[in-house]
Each structure stands twice: as structure tokens, then as C-alpha cells.
């Protein structure tokens, strides 16, 4: 076993500091060390997106990043997206439009979709399908996921307009 590394992270707005092995993966840190079991493991080879989180403003598959590489970063997981009393519009939309079944892909999907809508608040269906292609779902056939994301986009744009 090699020398432990001193890591600092800000996860969902909270500062975390700990010693980690150099080979510790970010998904492991989140799930095992910080008890954030929202992000899931589906492959550990960057293919499925179940482990997607937002790291310094980018969507990242946390299974293929060492926590050492994330030192000093700001991380948002599904647990940081909304609260039971104030759900994120995407969380509402996935429920409303049946965008999930077993729910295993869902945290990664919603986290990724949030980033997508931040970058492109008014996507076409094609842009949603392309932008979500890094996240696999085995249950839904994507049709209702796409529908959910488009509905959330409309909802968020509507809210923005109302606020302006």
C-alpha cells in the first residue's frame, strides 16, 4: 500500500478533508467515504454514466477519476440537486413523465441533464439525445427520459421568463 494523500473536496456545498490512497476512485469516495450513494456503479469503465456527477462545472463520470485528481474540486451529486421540499425541476419532470423505472440510472441521468440544460437551455430533441448519449438506461428506452428533459427545459425557461 502506498502513501496516503491529503485530499480536500467541496461536495454539495460542504467541505470535506481526508487521507486517501492514491488509487481511490472518486465514486468510491462519494459512496463509501461520504455515504452519498445516489451516484451508482454500472460499469466502472466510463460507459454507462450511472456515476455521473458535476465536477468544477463539468459532467464527470466519477468511476474513472481518482479522487487525487479531484483534489480541491467542487462536486455536486444528485443529493445536492434539490431537497424533498424543493425538488429540482428535472426531478419533478422525471416523475411526471415516467422518465425512470428501476431508478438505477436516474441520479446520473438527472445530474447530466442538469448540466446539459445549463449549457443549452433550449435544446432540440436531437440535442438532448446527443447530449445524453453518455448515460445508459436499460429500462426506459429513453423516450420518456427525453420527454422529461424537454419538459423540464420548458418549465425552467418559463420560470426564468416569469422572474424577468
Amino acid at each position: 500500500m502506498s502513501k496516503k494523500m491529503h485530499i480536500k473536496l467541496n461536495v454539495n456545498g460542504k467541505d470535506e478533508e481526508f487521507l486517501a490512497e492514491p488509487r481511490e476512485l472518486l465514486i468510491y469516495t462519494l459512496r463509501e467515504r461520504l455515504n452519498l450513494t445516489g451516484p451508482h456503479i454500472g460499469c466502472e469503465t466510463s460507459h454507462c454514466g450511472a456515476c455521473t456527477v458535476t465536477l468544477n462545472g463539468k459532467s464527470v463520470k466519477s468511476c474513472t477519476m481518482f479522487v487525487a485528481q479531484a483534489d480541491g474540486a467542487e462536486v455536486t451529486t444528485i443529493e445536492g440537486m434539490g431537497s424533498p421540499d424543493a425538488l429540482h425541476p428535472l426531478q419533478e419532470a422525471f416523475r411526471e413523465h415516467h422518465g425512470l423505472q428501476c431508478g438505477y440510472c436516474t441520479p446520473g441521468m438527472i445530474t447530466r441533464a442538469a448540466k446539459l440544460l445549463e449549457e443549452n437551455p433550449n435544446p432540440t430533441e436531437e440535442e438532448v439525445r446527443f447530449g445524453m448519449a453518455g448515460n445508459l438506461c436499460r429500462c426506459t428506452g429513453y423516450q420518456n427520459i427525453v420527454k422529461s428533459i424537454l419538459a423540464a427545459a420548458a418549465e425552467m425557461n418559463g420560470a426564468k421568463e416569469a422572474a424577468e
Binding site: E21, H40, C102, R138, Y142
Partner: protein, 805 residues
């Protein structure tokens, strides 16, 4: 009595009962990352287990040296077959009546086979320990082809007496597992001999894998103080697992608690019992600590539960006008190193004998030979009811081949051979009794919806344009009319390991008019907590929102055989309705007492009992629930509970008509799904939103299977598709939008007429996609090309047909 201010319509809506698009109650936790999947479970002092796996497909295990591994910091134990042998746990029974090595006992039979189990303080230490175990192998000749397996002198299963019968009768060769037959051999051969037209074809349904997004896993926790074993895991059949664990471990069943927490998709992968479960239990007993074992994706794809791998040789006969007279099928089934199919005991080839499909075929014969090879064991039903997908693919390809032979339109050929509405209940030549159907109505609706004639015209024009060199794209129209057989099943002919395939529901009404119901099934994404509450709401007149549904904990839920083979709605759904009716019967007596009339003078109306002819006098179910607990009623016990164990009188037979329109680029082999129309008839519809979601998902799995997904081996038995890089799962980008539609033909024997739908789209989808590919090339002489139709294979087909010249 109160004023009845709400309308009947409002009262119905308020229940959110059957037929409404109730939103799912599961979603709150899943969308907030608060699901509880097995890998989320953390227990005090929990250890991690991981396997040393064989790199060879066939080899003797000469020695295993665990010395170095035990020196690795954090490693606590390394189990081998030698350690399990004194407990009799180095082998375990499979669901198919065979046995399987838990850990390599002298030899290995497939790549990735479990050789030793390392138990360590965490996953990292376990992985280090796995690296440090030294195993010496002596390679043996590898057999990956089932036809060769039946000829070779190489014996794979040396543990079996070559002269003794197997679990399903005589064996013809040491690598042969069983022969299973249905129908009439001689009569069918006579029909074929005398027929005006016979079409013959070899159809291979390739090996693939259910690959749910969550892999298999478990946490075993032996509480030595209380002598109680708790086993959490990704189990599609938790109660059956409890019984099996009890039988093989000797721990009494009341001391075992099996819990299926949230499951991240199953699709058949999580029905069986795997070595990881046994090893985790043993490791927990040995160490006295909870032990977690979670497959990684490679373990999952290479070792647990492949599906299909059926080599089907078919002959179909007809008159010159296209009336089918006979069907013959011989299947060589590659089961891998152990026969670990999850099939009802009497059906070693599952329900493959539904292969006469939706057609009135008077004479038929089916034989299936199961064979051992050096591949992973299994043969699970990947989103299908025990080999129904293979059967549907077979008959839907044979129909297309016959249409070519006859020079007929394949839609018309289907139409003239469908079982007619008035023929139900229909007795098929291979032994089933189809409960209900109206195939002609569904078919006509489907053809009309896609403008079938218009499509054929467009296709003919396209072929001409292609021949003139104006386009390099062909157009295929993939047709399918499938009939499923689900809801296993009547206990008299369906059991798994002797466990009858009934299912159950137990309802407890609380005094204030809410309820909890527990079932013997377990959701893996199907939304049981939502839909079963809807069934109950309609049956007992309490709002679905006031009914909690619980499954998956064997300490609390009634015994049931679990969720697979689309059996939840047909069997547990029926149990739910029946238990609900028992509640209602008692409620009726209470209502009559409260209203001071005779039992027969009250009737159920949505959410209450009313006096016949005087509906303004009533007692709501809420009031009745309160009275049931709090009012002394002469001759009636307090409380309001019911339980039903439902043994279905027959299977249910959902059906559907699917049409896929595909564009194929002849030069790149790429395809584009232009349109996919799916009409499903699953009988009574409980929640249309959930049905639609199931259809989308099943079709996407079908798309994957037909167009690219496979478990492939090289001749050394190396699995070539062990990661998601090689094993095709479609993304949102490759997946089309689907158009769903329905007809409703209720099941006459099911209490609410529901038939089940989850697997239909996989069963019908695969032939629809595959037929579209074949249909595109039909004008150029293609009869049969094997799946998966990936870009390379399609390109190769075009090339073989001379379309690149």
C-alpha cells in the same frame, strides 16, 4: 350518514384505481438519489468478497496456492472448493436439475469460472488478494460449438456418469444434457412429405445477456448470537432463494431472512442462484462478519446468466394458397458448462413449444437437445417467459421464409393463418390452451396505422431506384405478430425445484381506512408499489394513495415465487384482486350490520356499500374499516385482513402486432429506424403510462439484441464481449421513438382480465427488427442471415448478394 356531495365520477377518480395513469410512488426516492440498492447497504464491520476466476475455458486445476494472498494486508480468508467440500457446498443445485460448481472442483469449464473466494476488509484489499492467489492450470481441449460437442471424445462433465439418465431423461452423449419433445413426430413428417410447399431454414438465435444496469450482488450476515442469517441481494425470487439456501445450508428456514432491496433492473439475470451468494454466506459464517459481494460488469457479462443460444432447424409446410399445414422444429440448445436455465422443472426448454405462434397449425413437432459446451452456464429468460423469445423469433422467421417460398406478401400470409377469434380457447398442436385473442382485429389496425400498402409501394419504387443507381439505401418493412405465454403458472405443471409457482398477497386494512399489502413478488423497476395499489383501490374502494405495497422481505411478505416471466400481474396481481375481494366480502357484512339490513341488501359502489335501491344510504369503506376494529359486531371477528394464495388455472396469452420500417445503407451497413409501431394487447390495462414505459424499454432491449448485442467467444473459449465497449447497449442517440397502440382482449380466467406486458416488446420486437433487415434484402434473394445485424454483418450480407459489384 353524511351528505354525498361528490359525484360518482369524482369518487372513482379519487381512488386512482385501475386504468388510470397514476404517477409512480417509487419515483420520489429514486429521483433524489435515495434508492436503497444492495451495494448501498452498509453493515458494521462488513467485509468484501471477490473471486479468483479462471482465465481458461477448459482446464484442470492442478493446484491453488493461497499463501501469498493471505499475507496481503487486509485479507482475512481465501476459500477454495476444499474448504467448501466438508460442508457439502462446493457444488450447488441449479434451477434446471443439474448441479454447478460453487468453486472449481478439480477443473474449470468456462472462462471466468469461480476458482477461489477472497475475503478482505475492503474491496481494494480483496482485489489485491485475488491478484496474489496462484493457480496452476493444465489446459484441456476447448469445445465451443454444440454440434462438435456431440461428436467429440472430449468429455466436459467428468463428474456425471455418462450412462446414467440426466434430470430430464436419457442422455445420448457425455456432453448431451436432455432431449425434450412436444407434438407428433410421425404425423408431422407425413404432413411435410405430402405437402404442396415446404420451406426449410436454419435459424440461429445468438447468445446474449440481460445486462441490467445494476449487476448482481449480495450481503450475507450471519448473526451467531441469535443463529439467524440475513441475506440481502439482487433476487428476483427472494422466497425461493430462502428455501434453496435452507436446503443447501441446513439452516432452518425460519432462521433465514432474505431481503431484496431496490433492484436496478433484472430482466432474468437475477432469478438464479450464483456462487457469489453461497460463498458470501459461507464467508460470513466463517468470519462472523457481514460479507458483501458485488459483481463488476465483466463478471456479470462473462459468468452470470447468458440468454438464448438456440440453433433452430425448421420446416414449415403449406398449400399453394398459403394455408399452413405443418411445422417441424429441431433445436440444439447450447447451455454452457452447467445447465443453469431458470425454467419450470417439467420444461427444460422452457415454453419453446409456443413456437406455433399466432397461427392455426394443425400438426407440429418440436425436439430440443440440450448440450454442454465450454461457455458460461445459464440459459435464462432475458425479458421473456422461458424461451418464448426464441419461439417467437423462430416462427416469425419461418413465416417470412415461407412467404418467400410461396411468392406471397408476408402480411397476407399471416392473416390467412391466424387463429380466429371464435377458436379461443384454442388448443395448439404443441399442447397449450390459448386463453383469448383477436389477432385479425389487431393486425388490421396495425397495417392501417402504418399505411402498409403505401409502404410496400414506396419500397417497390425504392428497389427500382436502387437498380437504376439513384440510391444506395434500401427499405425494409419488418412484420411481427407474436403470441406470448406468461404467468407461470398452474402449480400442477409449473414448479421450480419443486416449488409450486403460485403467488400471494396479504392485505391489512388499518382502522382509519388506509392499508398495507404485501406480495410474494419483487419489483425491479416495474412499479409494483404503484400498480398493485391501483388494483386494490378498485377492488376495495380505498384510494391507491392510502395503500402501501411492500415486497421482498421474506420475514414479512407472504411466500411467492417472485418476478420474472411476466408473472407478477397474471399471478400476484390475481392474488391481490382475490385478497381484495375477501376484504370486500367481510366489509359487506359489516356494512349491512351498520345499516341494519341483510347482507344481500347492500352492494359495493366504488368506495362504499350502498343499500340496493337506496344509494343515499351507505357506509364508506373508511367507515367500515373503523367499525371493523372498534365496534363489537355480533358474529364477526374484529379486524380487516385477508390473504390469498393464487394458483392460476392457466397461463395468460398476451399478443401484439409490431411493424418496423428501416432504412439500410448498403455501403456502410448502417441502419436507421424510420418508424416503429407497436400494438400490444395485454388484456385489461392497469396503468397505461407504465405499460407504455415497459413497451419502450422492451423494444429498446429488442433493438439491442437484433442489431448488435451478443456474447461471443473465440475458438479458445475466450469471451470477446465482456465489457460495455464490446457488448452493445443502445444510447439515446441510437434509439428511435416508438408509437404505441393497443387493443384489449381480457383474459377470461384472470380475476381482472389482465395478462401481463413487460416482456411482450422483447418477444415481438426482436423479430420485427430482424425481419425489417431481411425484408430490405428480400428483393435481392436473401432468405436468412443471422443476428445480430450489426453494421459489419449487414454490409457482409449486401456484399454476399453482390450489391457492391
Amino acid at each position: 350518514m353524511k351528505d354525498d356531495v361528490t359525484s360518482r365520477e369524482d369518487r372513482v377518480a379519487n381512488l386512482k384505481g385501475m386504468g388510470c395513469e397514476r404517477k409512480r410512488v417509487e419515483d420520489a426516492r429514486f429521483t433524489q438519489g435515495k434508492g436503497n440498492y444492495v451495494d448501498d447497504i452498509k453493515l458494521d464491520g462488513m467485509l468484501a468478497g471477490d473471486f479468483v476466476r479462471s482465465p481458461y475455458a477448459h482446464a484442470r486445476v492442478v493446484s491453488i496456492d493461497t499463501e501469498a494472498a493471505l499475507q496481503v494486508p487486509g485479507v482475512l480468508a481465501v476459500l477454495t472448493a476444499k474448504d467448501l467440500e466438508p460442508l457439502g457446498l462446493h457444488w450447488m443445485p441449479t434451477l434446471a436439475g443439474d448441479k454447478q460448481m460453487v468453486l472449481a472442483d478439480g477443473k474449470v469449464l468456462f472462462q471466468g469460472q469461480e476458482v477461489a473466494f477472497v475475503v478482505a476488509e475492503d474491496r481494494f484489499a480483496a482485489a489485491d488478494g485475488v491478484e496474489a492467489v496462484e493457480v496452476e492450470y493444465e489446459e484441456l481441449p476447448v469445445i465451443v460449438d454444440p454440434f462438435e460437442a456431440l461428436k467429440t471424445d472430449v468429455v466436459l462433465r467428468e463428474d456425471l456418469d455418462p450412462n446414467a439418465d440426466g434430470a430430464h431423461g436419457p442422455r445420448k452423449h457425455p456432453n448431451h444434457i436432455f432431449t425434450w419433445e412436444a407434438g407428433e413426430k410421425e404425423a408431422t413428417e407425413q404432413v411435410l412429405d405430402a405437402a404442396e410447399v415446404v420451406a426449410e431454414e436454419n435459424i440461429y438465435y445468438h447468445r446474449t445477456h440481460p445486462c441490467p444496469l445494476e449487476t448482481c450482488g449480495c450481503v450475507a450476515s450471519m448473526d451467531k448470537v441469535n443463529g439467524k442469517l440475513t441475506l440481502y441481494g439482487t433476487f428476483q425470487a427472494p422466497h425461493a432463494i430462502r428455501t434453496v439456501v435452507s436446503l443447501i445450508s441446513g439452516i432452518e428456514e425460519h432462521n433465514i431472512r432474505v431481503v431484496s432491496p431496490d433492484i436496478g433492473g433484472g430482466f432474468g439475470n437475477k432469478v438464479g442462484a450464483y456462487p457469489g451468494y453461497v460463498c458470501s454466506v459461507v464467508a460470513s459464517i466463517v468470519t462472523g462478519k457481514p460479507v458483501k459481494w458485488i459483481e463488476d460488469r465483466m463478471d456479470n457479462l462473462m459468468t452470470t446468466a447468458f440468454a438464448r443460444d438456440y440453433h433452430m432447424h425448421g420446416k414449415i409446410s403449406a398449400t399453394k394458397e398459403g394455408k399452413i399445414t405443418g411445422l417441424w422444429c429441431h433445436t440444439t440448445a447450447d447451455h454452457g458448462g452447467f445447465d443453469a436455465c431458470a425454467d419450470p422443472t417439467k420444461f427444460p426448454a422452457g415454453f419453446m413449444n409456443i413456437c406455433t405462434g399466432s397461427y392455426d397449425i394443425p400438426t407440429a413437432y418440436l425436439a430440443v437437445d440440450g448440450v454442454y459446451t465450454n461457455k458460461a452456464p445459464g440459459g435464462v429468460a432475458y425479458r421473456c417467459s422461458f424461451r418464448v423469445t426464441e419461439a417467437a423469433y423462430f416462427i416469425e422467421r419461418m413465416i417470412e421464409v415461407l412467404a418467400i417460398e410461396l411468392g406471397m406478401d408476408a402480411a397476407e400470409l399471416r392473416r390467412i393463418n391466424f387463429i380466429k377469434k371464435e377458436q379461443f380457447p384454442y388448443h395448439s398442436a404443441l399442447g397449450w390452451e390459448y386463453d383469448s385473442g383477436d389477432y385479425h382485429t389487431a393486425w388490421d389496425k396495425a397495417l392501417k396505422a402504418v399505411d402498409y400498402d403505401g409502404l410496400r409501394k414506396e419500397q417497390a419504387e425504392r428497389v427500382e431506384a436502387f437498380k437504376r443507381g439513384e440510391t444506395r439505401k434500401l427499405m425494409g418493412i419488418g412484420l411481427t405478430h407474436f403470441t406470448e405465454i406468461v404467468g407461470a403458472g398452474p402449480v400442477k405443471n409449473c414448479d421450480i425445484l419443486g416449488l409450486g409457482m403460485f403467488d400471494s398477497c396479504e392485505i391489512r386494512i388499518h382502522p382509519t381506512g388506509s392499508a398495507i399489502a404485501r406480495l410474494g413478488t419483487i419489483s425491479q423497476g416495474q412499479g409494483h408499489a404503484t400498480t398493485f395499489a391501483q388494483i386494490l383501490a378498485t377492488e376495495i374502494g380505498l384510494p391507491a394513495d392510502s395503500i402501501t405495497i411492500e415486497e421482498g422481505d421474506t420475514d414479512t411478505a407472504p411466500y411467492g415465487l417472485g418476478t420474472y416471466g411476466s408473472r407478477s400481474t397474471p399471478v400476484a396481481g390475481a392474488a391481490t384482486a382475490m385478497a381484495g375481494r375477501k376484504i370486500r366480502a367481510k366489509a359487506q357484512m359489516i356494512a349491512a350490520y351498520l345499516l341494519e339490513v341483510h347482507d344481500d341488501d347492500v352492494e359495493f359502489d366504488v368506495d362504499r356499500f350502498v343499500i340496493k335501491g337506496a344509494p343515499e344510504r351507505f357506509k364508506t369503506m373508511k367507515e367500515i374499516a373503523f367499525a371493523a376494529y372498534n365496534q363489537a359486531i355480533p358474529g364477526i371477528e374484529p379486524g380487516l385482513e385477508a390473504v390469498s394464495y393464487y394458483d392460476p388455472p392457466n397461463m395468460t396469452y398476451p399478443f401484439g402486432a409490431y411493424i418496423c420500417v428501416m432504412e439500410i445503407d448498403v455501403d456502410t451497413g448502417e441502419h436507421e429506424i424510420r418508424q416503429f409501431y407497436a400494438l400490444d394487447d395485454c388484456g385489461t390495462r392497469i396503468n397505461p403510462m407504465i405499460i407504455e414505459g415497459q413497451v419502450h424499454g422492451g423494444l429498446t432491449e429488442a433493438l439491442a439484441i437484433a442489431m448488435g448485442q451478443e456474447i461471443a467467444y473465440d475458438e479458445m473459449g475466450n469471451c470477446k464481449t465482456g465489457t460495455l465497449m464490446d457488448f452493445f447497449l443502445p444510447t439515446a442517440w441510437e434509439t428511435p421513438n416508438y408509437t404505441t397502440d393497443h387493443t384489449v382482449t381480457p383474459s377470461p380466467h384472470h380475476p381482472i382480465g389482465a395478462k401481463g406486458v413487460g416482456e411482450s416488446p422483447n418477444v415481438g420486437g426482436v423479430p420485427a427488427f430482424s425481419n425489417a433487415v431481411h425484408d430490405a434484402f428480400r428483393p435481392f434473394g436473401l432468405r436468412q442471415s443471422h443476428m445480430p445485424h450489426d453494421h459489419w454483418r449487414i454490409w457482409k450480407t449486401a456484399n454476399d448478394l453482390g450489391l457492391h459489384d
